[in-house]
Every structure is written in structure tokens, then in C-alpha cells.
Subunit: 192 residues, 2 copies
Amino acid sequence: MPTTERTSARERLLAAANELFYAEGVHAVGIDRVIEKAGVAKASLYNTFGSKDALVGEYLRGRQDANRARITAAVEHADEPRARLLAVFEAQSVQLATPGYRGCAFVAASAEAEPGGTVEHVSDEYRAWLRGLLTDLARGAGAPDPDALARQLYLLYDGAGIAVRMDRDPAVAATVRQTAELLVDAALRSMV
Amino acid sequence: MPTTERTSARERLLAAANELFYAEGVHAVGIDRVIEKAGVAKASLYNTFGSKDALVGEYLRGRQDANRARITAAVEHADEPRARLLAVFEAQSVQLATPGYRGCAFVAASAEAEPGGTVEHVSDEYRAWLRGLLTDLARGAGAPDPDALARQLYLLYDGAGIAVRMDRDPAVAATVRQTAELLVDAALRSMV
DNA sequence: GCGACAGTAGACAGGTCTGTCCACTGCGTC
DNA sequence: GACGCAGTGGACAGACCTGTCTACTGTCGC
């Protein structure tokens, strides 16, 4: 493989897809706009990815990886068990307050995706991971019913993403942190 | 106006639009499928509504009216202030457990809608109403900071709709009721 | 009977979308 | 210099979508 200095067509396509698909929606953005933004020929897209659906899949996978890395880093940065659980929401609230953040990419992409398709598959992967992480961290923090606490926090996480998207109101960031703390402490306090 | 017994073209169009748009998405369903399901000529659609966008608007307005009526009825059925606030989530959890429920129609429709359009307008209307209602009921229940409690419950409400859609897991209904109770009682208990 | 009216059936225009294909171009390697 | 390779640019096919238009039909009130 040659040592190309300039970014490859693949990288530029993924970057353009990430910006456009996330900002305007997977259905609303056509191939032509993606290749124009990437500065790439249409044939390059189809040689590299094979179809729009595959490009969408890679776009979502990229967001999944970035989200996992961001959350994992925040969790590992905390040392105390309770703080590790709350770190998920610290990470989220940073994202919620970021200008241009438009909520969860998987939720948006799933809105008009056909059941059983690529979008649903990648979304399920991410959501299962997040829910598992919350359950593990809740257990680590000593919650009497880790699954129940994880379910509550999971709803909170989803709600914050939607609210910031629909209401264009970054104040959600503070609410989600406070509410997470409240739910966690209520669960831990209920210990015998 | 003649006393037609059979349902009018307008009614059949709205019923078909409601089913198809809600189940598959506003963008994914074309005009042809709507008129076919309604058993109506294309010209009838355009004579009645003028455009697809207007039909989408009427569809969303119908859902808004139904949601408001359902929630209002549940609230008025309760007499005690705390129960009135929780009635919102009783009503939601009934809906969450209904087969075929696919989450909030406004969230789905907004996913690929252009900013400033009909969809955004009707969604904002509904969301402002719901948030106002939660704030009023929280105040009525005697919460020290009604706005803060309403914000928390609002996140919960959104989260439940998304989770049931994305995970196809009706167990969310129980979680949302329990969590609402927890948040309300925590807020009321913090009274001096 | 007759006109008004609501609705039907379908062809058609014009646009947009995905995906294919072909001839061509730099560039690094041998 | 010849070759392979990644990429370019644009024309094109075929599907689908919204919206328009024309000609027709059944029904009700007068």
C-alpha cells in the first residue's frame, strides 16, 4: 500500500457522509451531494463502498466507534464506582452542549429505515452495548437491582438526545446530569 | 352539505395517511400508496389537501389532537394533585404497551424534515403544550421547583417513546411509571 | 330531466434518486 | 518507457416521486 499523504477518497467520503447525513438525514441527502462535498467522483464511491446503503452503514459504524470511545474514556477517567456510572452522563452532557449536536444519529437514521436493514442492525449493536455498560457500572456501584437502575438511566439518556434535537435547547445538559445523579443516589440509598 | 353515509374521501385519506406514515415514515411512503390504501383518486387528494406536505400536516395535527385528548382525559380522571401529574405517565404507559406503537410520531417525522417546515411547527406546538402541562401539574402537586421537575419528567417521557421504538421492548411501560413516581416523590419530599 | 358536485381513472410532465459505464489522467514502480 | 492502480468526469438508464390535467360517472336537489 502506497504512503499517500493526501487523504484518500474513502476518508473524504466518510467525512462528507458524516457531516451531511448527520445534519440533514440519511434519506434527505443524495449521493450527488456527498460526492460533491467530498470532492470525489461518483465511481469512486461505488468502487469503494458498493452502494449508498453500505456507505450509510460505515457512517453509522464510525459514529458508534466514536461514541463508545468517548464514553469509555470518560468512565475510565473516573475512579470511584459511583463516579464511573455518572461519567456516562458527564460525557453525554458535554456532547449535548456542543453546537451542532442534533441528538443520537441512530435514532435519526432509524426513523425512516426499513426493518431488518443495515441501520437497524448497527443501532441495535450500539444500544445493546450502552445498556450493558450501564448495567455493569450500576452493579459495580453497588446498586441492589442493577438492571432496574440501568433501565431508568437508559430512558434518561435517550430522552436527553431527543429533547435537545427537538427543542434545540442545550439546557438539557444540566437537567440530564442532575437527574442521573438523583436516580443513582435514590437507588444506592435504597440499599439495606 | 349532503348527508353522505359512506366515509368521505377526506376521512379515508387521513385514516390511510395515519396508518402508513406512522408505520413506515413520512418520506418512505409515497402518495400512490396512500391513495391506494384509501381507495381514492389522486385528484381527490390534491383537491382536498393541495399537497403532500399539507396532508402530512393534517396527519400530525390529528395525532396531536388525539394525544392531547388522551392525556387530558387521564389527568382529569384523577383527583389528587400527585395522581394527576402521574396520570400523564399512566396514559403514556398504556400507549407504550399497545401493539404497533412505534414511539412519538413527531420525533419520527422530524427526523428528516427540513427546518422551519410544517412538521417542525406542529411538533413544537405539541411539545410546548406537554411541557406546559407537566409544569402546571407539578406546580399543582406542590413541587418546590415545578419547572425543574417538569424538565426531568419531560426527558423521561421522550426517552420512553424512543426506547420502545428502537428496542421493540414494551417492558419500558413499567419502567417509565416507576421512574416517574420516583422523580415526583423525590421532588415532593425535598419540600421544607 | 338537469345542473351542480364530489369523486374516479389514468396518462403525463418534470424532477430527483441510485447505480452503471466508458474514456481518460496522474503517479509510483519496475 | 511500460504497466498497474486509484481516481476523475460525465453521460446515461431506470426507477420513483410529486403534482397536473382531461374525460368520465354517479348522486342529490330542484
